[in-house]
Symmetry: C2
Subunit: 163 residues, 2 copies
Amino acid sequence: MTNEELFSTTVLNTWKLIIGRFDKSLATLTDEQLQKPVAPGKNRLYYLVGHLTAVHDRLFPMLGIGERLHPELDEVFLAHPDKELADPISGTELKKAWGEVNDKLTAAFSKFSPQDWLLKHSAVSDEDFAKDPTRNRLAVVLSRTNHASFHSGQAILATKTPA
Amino acid sequence: MTNEELFSTTVLNTWKLIIGRFDKSLATLTDEQLQKPVAPGKNRLYYLVGHLTAVHDRLFPMLGIGERLHPELDEVFLAHPDKELADPISGTELKKAWGEVNDKLTAAFSKFSPQDWLLKHSAVSDEDFAKDPTRNRLAVVLSRTNHASFHSGQAILATKTPA
């Protein structure tokens, strides 16, 4: 592998690892368990999964890699805080949407050449990108990976003993 | 910048961003506030800061970039769960140690060439590294960045409304 291939492969591995761990902790949870808040008065697991699904689904247009799968989740999980609107789908359906979105993203990332990782994303202007070429797809995927870790840390409070 | 420089700079920026955000959320907390658990019966903020400091301090030998600054923290914050041993230092001292460790790490990472990021770390054997060259310093720093995000998500529960 060339150096730039090593960089892109290592970044992709980290994405897969973090998403895979979250998937694993979700897999055994029932719809009832997903209703549990991560701490008293805080977001429910259900809401965190919906929030992450909507944020990840928005990566398709942002990275120019296809159409969104679940734009209908934005209203409940991005525009409103937890429990302000009624739950639009069951926990089981939500877990399915989460899996679909990440599978499609991972498939797209897996086809990226190193150069593809360094392309501009659609939320930055040509002018700003010319000034700062680190505002690339790589930066966005690293940011979303850390965002998933951030909420994984919360989710685990409702599912396990502290670690 | 070359492609490999863009990769390494983007990764370094992500590390700085995540650590910087955690620093910012810690900065305003008093020693008393650091005693607060992130949720009832879970780790205190104080313990999370100590845990992250010890984990990051271990990066110096692991990445071959210098001597550890605070090996004395391992016993309380890695070998034992929260509150099993007495607090060894004040919250203010702990925040200072956290800052020192990360400043020294960031200074070392900032001097890495792209090739430096792709070197073997000391926790992998020559043989295993030959088989899988993605077990490099980059993978370790990405992992620690996500680990810091994981605990940041918990810490914010004690300091802010859900987000």
